[in-house]
């Protein structure tokens, strides 16, 4: 590891994982933490518990803002464990000089998203710091959810499962990049930022047997699949053609040399479901506007345990690794 923290260590990829395991896991070691799930399952399996901090630039972007993100992100982590979001905390660190109007706009956005999840902010904290100490505003939210379906875990993916993606991938990451760098596109590219509990609730109520779920945030789909492959000691074989990618995201990836499966999502999740339920799960998801491109993307095998393999339409294959380093545009 480097001697000083570098940006790459927050990328949701290899360096990020290394930092977490060598510093935080090493000292905080306990059985619950080591399960490394989206949310911790506590209270004898009754509750799910999670926290997340949100820093994004720009704070208002196409398809959302930092407020909406701060509710979706935490509630989605609960939903991914089969838990209905219930109670939340909200801690805000805001920079001196920040516009009160913008702050209220962000809080209104949070309120709207809380309603979607039927969750409540029940306590919070506000800190104002001198100009330059933070980049405009940082928000931390912590959430407690009531587990509706137990046993969902990224440690249990097996050959009996089929892997599904809920929507087109990479839209949040591509939008933030485009907004930050002032790239103009003729068609509307929007972040996929959305709350996922309504979709999960429907899947559960229809009896879909879900083995694992994870929202593909920083590190994208590649990070989720690699974590599952490692944690469950299986090989995940992805058909490259089946990964749904919008033309806009593909365009940004082409220009800058990115892979859509490495870009962040904020309302797209990966599911491992029992293979017999896969087609039904896709059909249920597609009823939702925010999951209209849901598709089956991969099978689970033991060809290369612990690895994710990408199969091309012309018969070649390669590994889909965890992203490394900062996402930097290619030089030529």
């Amino acid at each position: 590891m480097t001697k000083n923290i570098v940006l790459a260590q927050g990328n949701g990829g290899q360096e990020n994982a290394e930092l977490i395991s060598k510093i935080f896991y090493k000292h905080f070691k306990n059985e619950i933490l080591e399960k490394s799930e989206d949310a911790a399952i506590i209270d004898g399996g009754r509750l799910a518990f999670t926290t997340d901090s949100f820093t994004v630039s720009p704070i208002f972007f196409d398809g959302g803002d930092i407020g909406k993100l701060s509710i979706c992100g935490t509630c989605n982590d609960l939903a991914m464990m089969g838990a209905k979001p219930a109670y939340m905390t909200c801690a805000v660190i805001v920079e001196e000089g920040f516009s009160i109007d913008d702050l209220e706009k962000i809080v209104r956005s949070m309120k709207k998203e809380l309603e979607v999840n039927q969750a409540l902010i029940v306590c919070g904290d506000t800190k104002v710091v001198p100009r330059g100490s933070v980049d405009k505003i940082f928000i931390n939210t912590t959430g407690v959810g009531i587990v509706q379906k137990s046993g969902i875990s990224s440690n249990c993916v097996s050959e009996a499962d089929t892997i599904i993606i809920s929507n087109q991938i990479g839209r949040h990451g591509a939008t933030i990049f485009a907004n930050r760098e002032g790239m103009e596109f003729s068609s509307a590219l929007q972040s996929d930022c959305t709350s996922l509990w309504p979709l999960v609730e429907k899947l559960l109520s229809e009896g879909i047997r879900i083995t694992a779920m994870r929202d593909a945030t920083r590190g994208g789909v590649a990070a989720v699949l690699n974590e599952w492959a490692k944690q469950s000691a299986v090989c995940i074989e992805v058909q490259e053609e089946s990964l749904p990618v919008s033309d806009e995201v593909r365009g940004i990836c082409e220009i800058l040399g990115f892979e859509a499966y490495n870009l962040a999502n904020e309302g797209t999740f990966v599911l491992a479901v029992k293979s017999e339920d896969a087609a039904k799960a896709v059909a249920i998801l597609q009823e939702f506007e925010e999951a209209r491109y849901a598709s089956i993307i991969a099978d689970v095998t033991h060809q290369y345990d612990g690895r994710v393999v990408l199969l091309s339409a012309w018969g070649s294959k390669r590994f889909m690794d965890l992203p490394t380093g900062e996402l930097l545009p290619r030089i030529c």
Binding site: S316, F319, E326, I331
Partner: protein
């Protein structure tokens, strides 16, 4: 550019049926050959394409790719990275560069490390972004650490052109532009006492199309005429590379060594004359430029002409820049990889001590580097 137009640019060039079609044609030509052939892709972009799309898996065993020195990040010697680091650490400097360059380790660390220590290092998509940064930071010196082959040189020249015409006085240039034909020539001409059979193993070159969009295909004439090595200037999509290999195989079987253009969509023999004139106006060749892992290569680098010395960061900061020679890491065989003698897996530290997250050698640093491509896409398959 709208996304729809962009899609049109690549869709047909990744068509599975076309790729499989070329696979059959190449296999038929390869059968007629009674020997193995080594095809060098000079440019890291092609290495990336070959590995990313798994093209080696589609080819017969008697076709072997060897990876060349064509990655502007990989070939940057530690001495030059140290220049960037020292400049970045100056309190009144904002250092700008392109993409992956900020990850390359020098002897003090990388630009990424400098940034973690408080330096103002930024990457830009286009050198023209420097204009806005210079305007917003009129009390700072903006140093553009310019890198790249013929492809990016015109953009640096165009920025300097604007800087001079607008009378901007806080943008300076640290020039590290290098040229492709000279290093290709070096690969063939040079001899190495440490390697028994240094005589080059290159049977054909795939020439990078983006270089020839600027410089024309004519820059490779020497290789087909004097060295009798076929050169095919090719694009970066999988269909482009497969077609280029087919064109080469036909040349082998017909006993030809021609310079051909596969990427006729944009490449002409003459290239972009306006860009060439701009480069000629502002730059001149340096007699030697050190390439990481390869040593000094004659006439392979560019510098600002003396009349533009007022914009030259190497002149302005002459007193603080280090000039000592620095050796490459002892375990690293990047030099042999860049010359086509070794494959990444043959390196003792590949994937262990040397990984994209902690690169020891230059080929692992850039996403265009051969080791990075092997690590990312094919270290087991």
């Amino acid at each position: 550019m709208s996304s729809l137009e962009l899609k049109d640019l690549y869709d047909g060039f990744r068509d599975p049926d076309v790729i499989k079609g070329y696979q059959k044609l190449i296999a038929a030509e390869a059968k007629k050959l009674d020997r193995n052939v080594n095809i060098m892709e000079v440019c890291g972009g092609h290495t990336h394409t070959i590995m990313k799309y798994g093209l080696t898996q589609l080819l017969p065993e008697n076709i072997n790719f060897i990876h060349g020195p064509g990655c502007p990040v990989c070939i940057m010697p530690k001495e030059r990275v140290d220049h960037a680091y020292v400049l970045a650490m100056q309190p009144d400097v904002i250092l700008l560069t392109l993409g992956d360059m900020i990850k390359v380790p020098g002897s003090h660390g990388s630009l990424q490390d400098a940034r973690a220590k408080g330096a103002d290092v930024r990457y830009v998509y286009s050198p023209m972004d420097a204009l806005k940064i210079a305007e917003e930071n009129s009390d700072k010196k903006i140093v553009f650490f310019a890198i790249g082959f013929e492809t990016t040189t015109p953009m640096t020249a165009a920025l300097l052109d604007v800087v001079i015409k607008r009378g901007i006085n806080n943008i300076f240039f640290h020039i590290n532009h290098v040229t492709v034909p000279e290093v290709m020539k070096e690969l063939i001409d040079s001899r190495d006492e440490h390697v028994n059979s240094y005589d080059h193993r290159i049977d054909a070159f795939i020439g990078p199309s983006h270089v020839s969009v600027i410089s024309g295909s004519k820059i490779y004439e020497l290789f087909s005429i004097e060295y009798h090595i076929p050169v095919v200037v090719a694009g970066f999509e999988p269909v482009d590379v497969m077609e280029a290999i087919y064109m080469m195989m036909k040349q082998f079987n017909e006993g030809r060594s021609d310079l051909e253009i596969q990427y006729k969509r944009l490449v002409t023999p003459e290239g972009n004359l306006k860009a060439q004139a701009l480069i000629e106006h502002y730059f001149e060749k340096v007699s030697l430029f050190k390439w990481r892992g390869m040593g000094n290569v004659p006439n392979s680098g560019l510098k600002l002409r003396d009349e533009f010395a007022a914009y030259d960061a190497e002149v302005l900061f002459e007193n603080i820049l280090p000039y000592d020679e620095i050796d490459d890491h002892k375990l690293c065989i990047c030099g042999d990889i860049l010359r086509g003698f070794a494959k990444p897996q043959e390196c003792s530290v590949f994937g262990t001590a040397c990984k994209p997250s902690s690169p020891l050698g230059s080929c692992m640093v850039s996403s265009e580097g051969a080791c990075a491509a092997y690590y990312k896409y094919g270290n087991l398959i």
